[in-house]
């Protein structure tokens, strides 16, 4: 099977994609409704938490971080695969990425925005959030540049702004198509504004290519650094279970892993909801699945590295934490993480599952559950089993408010993502055309060659 049919007319591509802006399947509205509900619930939870105090998260004095930080890392992780698909694979000229990189990049942006929310939700005095920004002030007070948390704030902000820029720049030719095909109305005005007067001249294309490539090159180290810095939040601390040298690559691998799994999930949903079967084809899906499998194995390896280094380090306290993870109160979650993260992806090794949509959908959700558990298992056990036995705790079950905000983050992400897909072309029209064109050329070449042989 081929990644894409070579005989799709360019005009049909335009029509198919532009149709997605108008009449998706009913499921779209169902998803939007539930996303809105979940988000609304979260808003309620946050208002309550803001008014009452952080205690409603049900965290306590030794265990000061909980679900919010875990979910924060999860969403940061999610953002990585978008960059992988749009930037890394772009540089590697993997053209099968073309129909899907747009939504992946959108995913990057929105999951970063979701992660950013958790920083807000987590801090005790949201109203003083700006203290963490290095803004000039006449008291000469600066934030603490030694703190990984400050690096975090900066890295996320930079990554988010670059991602938005990358998403936007990559969309300009498509926005121009939308502008040209759309009937008069608010959308036309919007596209006209955003298309920045794109006419498709040779000079514009040349500048566009250079700009796009430059941002892509800029984005890759940024993506790696962001999750490395999130890893530093833990690795730079002194706590057992966190103070691990291999944390940055481990975090990056985990990030790519969960991101790819999320791409599979969204791929399947978009393909159905927006009737993109002709573009988001099973062969492309298969490629993503194989990529995911490879990353899963890398992640598993890095896990093993971490355990082994703890085990052989003679750091008794860290060892205690590890043993506690495996056998203590958190054991079901920890083993759930191992199962979902290392065992479940083995399904991908079987060819017949690599294109089986229901199986892939279920597995992709399980993988992400596993990755979410991984983050929780990084955060929580160190608190409940750290240096100081007197403060060890057994009962840190997150409250309804905490769970509410976690679910709401999924609602918020889905809401942003679904609205994006309805407002902007979620399949890159110009790049699909390129892809089809390249394939046609390739086909013609081989046909000519065949003919020549006769």
């Amino acid at each position: 099977m081929k990644d894409i049919r070579e005989d799709i007319a360019w005009a049909k591509i335009n029509v198919d994609v532009m149709k997605s802006l108008e009449n998706p399947r009913k499921l779209y509205w169902v998803i939007l409704f539930f996303a809105l509900m979940a988000f609304g619930f979260g808003v309620g939870c946050e208002i309550y938490q803001y008014q009452t105090g952080m205690g409603v998260e049900n965290v306590n004095n030794p265990q000061v971080w909980g679900l919010y930080i875990a979910t924060f890392i999860f969403w940061i992780g999610m953002s990585h695969s978008g960059t992988l698909l749009s930037a890394i694979l772009h540089l590697m000229h993997a053209d099968w990425r073309k129909p899907i990189y747009r939504f992946a990049e959108a995913m990057t942006t929105f999951s970063l925005m979701t992660a950013g929310l958790f920083v807000m939700v987590h801090i005790g005095r949201l109203w003083q959030f700006y203290y963490s920004l290095p803004y000039p002030n006449d008291r000469g007070i600066w934030p603490n540049f030694q703190s990984p948390l400050l690096w975090d704030a900066m890295a996320i902000f930079t990554y988010l702004s670059s991602s938005v820029l990358f998403l936007f720049v990559g969309m300009i030719p498509d926005l121009a198509i939308a502008r040209d095909t759309m009937a008069a109305g608010w959308r036309k005005k919007l596209y006209t504004l955003l298309a920045l007067g794109w006419e498709g001249t040779d000079r514009q294309w040349r500048n566009f290519r250079v700009t796009y490539l430059t941002i892509a090159c800029f984005l890759i180290p940024l993506a790696v650094s962001v999750h490395s810095i999130v890893a530093s939040d833990f690795a730079m601390s002194q706590q057992p279970g966190w103070h691990v040298t291999s944390f940055p690559p481990y975090f990056v691998a985990g990030a790519l892993y969960s991101g790819c799994a999320a791409i599979i999930t969204l791929f399947i949903i978009l393909r159905y909801v927006f009737r993109f079967e002709a573009y988001m084809t099973k062969p492309i899906l298969k490629k993503i699945v194989r990529l995911t499998f490879a990353i899963a194995m890398v992640w598993t390896y890095l896990n093993a590295v971490e355990f082994a280094s703890v085990w052989y380090s003679h750091d008794e306290v860290s060892k205690d934490v590890l043993i506690q993870k495996m056998t203590g109160t958190y054991a079901p979650f920890w083993w759930g993480m191992i199962f979902c993260g290392s065992v479940v992806p083995l399904v991908f090794a079987f060819k017949r599952f690599q294109t089986n949509i229901p199986v892939l959908f279920a597995v992709s959700l399980l993988l992400n559950l596993g990755m979410w558990l991984e983050r929780w298992m990084i955060v929580a056990p160190t608190f409940s089993h750290g240096y100081y036995p007197w403060t060890w705790d057994h009962e840190q079950w997150p409250s309804l408010v905490a769970w509410g905000l976690v679910f709401a983050s999924f609602g918020w992400f889905t809401l942003l993502f679904m609205i994006f897909c309805k407002v902007f072309p979620s399949v890159s029209m110009y790049e699909v055309k390129e892809m089809v064109y390249h394939r046609t050329l390739h086909l013609k070449k081989s046909e000519t060659a065949e003919q020549g042989a006769h």
């Binding site: 000061v64 203290y131 000039p136 002030n137 603490n144 704030a153 750290g386």
Partner: protein, 284 residues
């Protein structure tokens, strides 16, 4: 307000204590706690509540681990599969160790927790945004976060009870971190008096609330760089050095008769609290 200001002051903002070119002068507050004298009676802890406007959180929040006791008295018993704790329990008053190289200080994103020139690990409530990173990185877990808005809580501080509050100590609202300050309000007051008289604070002139109440005098507190101070003498007698992670006591296999130690010293946080080991009679 400029970046040059930042660069100029950077070395001041974060200088690790103690360093050779910037010794503690004239103050370095420190403590010594004799565990052989401590009976675990909790008077110190109550004194701390009274002095420092610490909220009483109530049963439900205590159950959730949200208690605010800056000074907690821990109780240990080593089992060795004995039927009874026939050598008694071991009590340990644990409060902020005012580390010289404090793990909490470096991680705060807004520099709300700082080192003062007299060797305290200070917490600026106004500046704190509540990221709780300091507590996450504290090996002793002695930092307490205001999970709720206690000053407005009728059960915690009914109107009548608010009259007891110490006006010298800020009342903390929700969302900020707090911890033992070595009764900095008393230190400041004593320093003002001393400064007015052109001298440094004398030994015994200032006491922390816990030290003041302790019926057995287990807690001593004072200026470590003042050779006259009891704390200085105790540290010296036990050969405990502030900026070391191994002491004379650890050097020999057989104990050289010393009993001063600092908790989790190997982490190189250089705590300012020295404990003296509990003694147990070998004849019974």
């Amino acid at each position: 307000m400029s970046v040059s200001n930042l660069l100029e002051n950077w070395s001041q903002v974060r200088h690790e204590h103690p360093v050779n070119d910037k010794p503690h002068d004239p103050y370095k507050w420190a403590m010594a706690i004799d565990l052989d004298a401590c009976t675990g009676c909790n008077a110190c802890s109550v004194a701390c509540y009274a002095e420092n406007n610490i909220p009483v959180v109530g049963k439900e929040r205590f159950q959730h681990g949200q208690q605010m006791h800056w000074l907690r008295v821990e109780r240990y018993w080593e089992e060795d599969s004995r039927e009874f704790p026939d050598q008694g329990f071991q009590f340990l008053p644990m409060m902020c160790q005012q580390c010289e190289a404090a793990p909490c200080e470096t991680v705060c994103p807004v520099a709300a927790t700082n080192h003062t020139a007299d060797g305290l690990n200070s917490q600026i409530y106004n500046r704190c945004i509540g990221s709780r990173y300091c507590s996450a990185n504290c090996p002793f877990k002695v930092r307490y976060f205001n999970w709720y808005d206690y000053p407005t809580d009728e059960m915690v501080w009914p109107a009548e009870m608010t009259q007891q509050m110490n006006p010298d100590v800020s009342v903390r609202s929700k969302g900020v971190m707090e911890k033992c300050t070595f009764c900095v309000q008393r230190l400041s007051a004593a320093k003002v008096v001393a400064k007015g008289e052109g001298r440094i604070v004398r030994e015994g002139e200032v006491q922390t609330a816990c030290q003041q109440s302790c019926p057995t005098g287990a807690i001593s507190f004072g200026n470590l760089v003042n050779p006259e101070s009891r704390v200085h003498k105790q540290w010296a007698a036990q050969q405990v050095v502030l900026d070391a992670d191994k002491q004379a006591k650890d050097e020999k296999e057989e104990g050289p008769g010393l009993r001063g130690y600092r908790i989790l010293e190997e982490l190189r946080a250089y705590p300012s609290v020295m404990y003296l080991e509990r003694v147990r009679e070998s004849a019974v």
